[in-house]
């Protein structure tokens, strides 16, 4: 099989096939907003006898590849869980490396931002930015500033984020702005979340076979309209082909489940 992979045209053929498959999926229904919990970088590094930081780098490359597929398929927004507030309890060395990685990758994205230019990706940094070191915060915000005029797709980078912090932040904001209590609704709370203004989350993907949400986008995920997909592969092993399969399966499931979910929601108004 190796000779096929090394044959000169193979890469182009694969690339072409991928693009065509994306076009095919794009013609059907595709989730408007996909969330990713990138789990398993460290385990991957351990399995392949790498250093932890190399695992994180591999994870970043996977993310770039998957996002490309998503945007090619017509996904409007993607949200990635880059760093949890709880992650600050990891070893200092690792945090330092992660921060360095974030900074350098952001610089790369901003300077020769293929992804951003080609897909018109608007980068938004979500989370409690006060907790970040000043230099990292600046470079992240710079990336956000530079891409703010892009309109076609959104990439939310959650760093450092937890859903409970997000909900608290939203509630605090609402109270601080002094809304009339009568006007406070679910939609208002949703709008004031960090993910406000982005299409509703319709698919959440978690890797490495953990059946938990780990404090990521809880408010958005419990929605009846949102499906959760749990994969047994580690994050760096997540191939674009698998992503295509998941999006395809989502589209197929949607056709069957749409009616069922609607029936579930019919009574919704009464329950509120």
């Amino acid at each position: 099989m190796d000779w096929i992979a090394s044959f000169p045209v193979t890469r182009h053929v694969l690339e072409y096939t991928k693009k065509q498959l994306c076009q095919v999926l794009r013609s059907g229904s595709v989730p408007q907003h996909v969330g990713f919990i990138m789990d398993g970088n460290r385990r991957y590094a351990r399995m392949n006898k790498m250093e932890t930081k190399e695992g994180h780098s591999a994870g970043f490359d996977t993310m770039a590849r998957l996002l490309e597929v998503c945007y090619d398929c017509g996904v409007q927004a993607a949200t990635v869980f880059a760093f949890s507030i709880e992650n600050f309890s990891r070893s200092e060395y690792e945090i330092e490396w992660l921060m360095k990685l974030a900074k350098s990758k952001m610089k790369q994205v901003v300077e020769n931002g293929e992804l951003c230019h080609k897909y018109g990706v608007k980068i938004r940094i979500l989370g409690n930015l006060k907790l970040l070191p000043a230099d990292v915060r600046e470079s992240l915000l710079e990336a956000q500033e530079m891409t703010k005029n892009n309109e076609r797709a959104v990439l939310n980078i959650c760093c450092p984020y937890t859903a409970r912090d997000d909900i608290t932040h939203s509630i605090k904001n609402i109270i601080a702005r002094g809304y009339d209590p009568e006007d406070i609704t679910q939609d208002l709370v949703s709008e004031h979340l960090y993910t406000g203004g982005v299409p509703k989350l319709q698919l959440l993907i978690r890797t490495s076979g953990v059946y938990r949400l780990s404090d990521f986008m809880l408010w958005e995920t419990v929605d009846v309209d949102c499906d959760v997909e749990i994969l047994s592969v580690l994050w760096p092993q997540f191939t674009p082909l698998l992503m295509l399969w998941i999006l395809f399966k989502w589209g197929w499931n949607r056709t069957g489940r749409a009616r069922r979910n609607k029936r579930l929601l019919e009574n919704h108004g009464k329950d509120d």
Binding site: Q23, V24, L25, S27, G28, S29, G74, S84, I85, E86, S89, R90, G120, R152, A163, R164, D165, I167, T168, I171, K172, I175, A176, G178, Y179, P181, I184, T185, Q186, V189, V210, Y211, R212, L213, D215, L218, W219, T221, V222, D223, V224, C226, D227, V228, E229, I230, K249, W252, N253, R254, T255, G256, R260, N261, R263, L264, N267, H268, D271, D272
Partner: protein, 362 residues
């Protein structure tokens, strides 16, 4: 009785105009939210007011296929407009791509048919293999092998239409009762049942009868375990005891059952926000008191603590509006294509839970 107590507490905490303490405001917020919720959605207790609830039932494979065709036919016109931008395909290539997609969907249907059959057969086999046969000691021996069991268990149940097997209110109560018996046998002291529409909340007498009958069948008439049914959203609690009569609920019950529905989810958080915003307008709650810990405590009082394990007895993973604050670190379990409450699923969920390792952030 509890209402009176509440109002006095309320006045008590309101009286110190500015020098309020954190605990006092905590109590105050809790009481107000409780009251608001009770005002807003009083559950009708008499039988005539019960609305028929649309069923959240499983479709057969063929209805799915039918829906598929219907959706494909209609989606053509909808999605066409979405492909804006420079590299969007033209209308002709769009139809070519879409027909390929339809073809792939058909292949997928065939694949799903086999997968469905396989999953159902597997479940059928598991149900035969693991049969509790209404014996607590069997369940206990199954569970005792596990290194750890959850302290708080939550189950998401779905109302099925009356026509279906084990459907209707009776079916739901039966499932809830069965789960209660399994929890008791495996030594889980806290159990919450989530059902989207809150059907169980309006049928507590039926539920109690059904639980009692089940417990007698499992444990025998001589030592029926005691249980407590709580509806956190209405702040009601019923003590279940011997012959289903209302006991005085003095001593600690063997199991606590709380009934949740979609109102305990996002609407409760919204309600809490409303109350806090009102209080902060009246300068009874300062902004710096509102933090994650405060909200967490409020929601724990209003809804209950976070479960360790959520078992979904449904064909696919969907949280159906489960309280979002409470799903933070809960392990979730479901069996693909399963739509009934069975012991095999329950036990496999516990087995899966016993192997998982929670390490917050690390």
């Amino acid at each position: 009785m509890s209402l009176e107590m509440k109002t006095t507490e309320l006045e008590g905490s309101q009286s110190p105009a500015n020098g309020f303490s954190a605990e006092a405001s905590q109590e105050l917020v809790y009481n107000l939210v409780q009251q608001n919720q009770q005002d807003v959605s009083e559950v009708p207790t008499d039988v005539d007011h019960r609305n028929p609830v649309p069923a959240y039932s499983s479709d057969t494979f063929f209805t799915t296929l039918y829906n598929l065709f219907k959706n494909l036919a209609s989606s053509g016109s909808q999605t066409k407009g979405e492909g804006e931008g420079s590299d969007a395909p033209g209308p002709i290539s769009y139809y070519i791509y879409h027909s390929i997609l339809v073809f792939l969907y058909l292949l997928m249907s065939v694949y799903r048919f086999y997968e469905y059959t396989y999953n159902r057969l597997k479940l059928r086999f598991l149900n035969l293999a693991y049969n509790p046969s209404r014996t607590p000691s069997l369940i206990n021996s199954d569970v005792n092998k596990l290194p750890k069991i959850p302290y708080r268990l939550s189950a998401i149940l779905n109302y099925k239409s009356e026509q279906e097997e084990n459907g209707g209110v009776e079916g739901l109560c039966n499932d809830a009762a069965e789960l209660t018996a399994w929890c008791l046998s495996s030594g889980i002291p806290n159990f919450s049942i989530y059902e989207y529409h809150g059907v169980l909340k309006t049928h507590v007498p039926e539920l109690r009868r059904s639980i009692h009958r089940k417990l007698v069948a499992y444990f025998g008439t001589s030592n029926v375990p005691t249980y407590h049914i709580k509806i956190p959203h209405l702040n009601l609690s019923y003590a279940g005891s011997y012959d289903g009569e209302y006991g005085d609920g003095e001593d600690k019950p063997d199991i606590e059952i709380s009934l949740l529905s979609v109102v305990d989810g996002r609407p409760t958080i919204v309600e809490l926000t409303k109350v806090m915003s009102q209080l902060s307008k009246n300068h009874e709650l300062s902004e710096k008191d509102i933090n994650m810990k405060f909200i967490d405590q409020e929601l724990q009082q209003l809804v209950g603590p976070e479960p360790d394990l959520i078992i979904m007895f449904q064909p696919y993973l969907n949280l159906q509006g489960y309280p979002p604050w409470h799903t933070r670190l809960s392990e979730m379990y479901w069996e693909p294509d399963n739509d009934e409450v069975s012991y095999a699923v329950f036990l496999r969920a516990l087995q899966k839970y016993s192997t998982c390792k929670v390490n917050i952030g690390r």
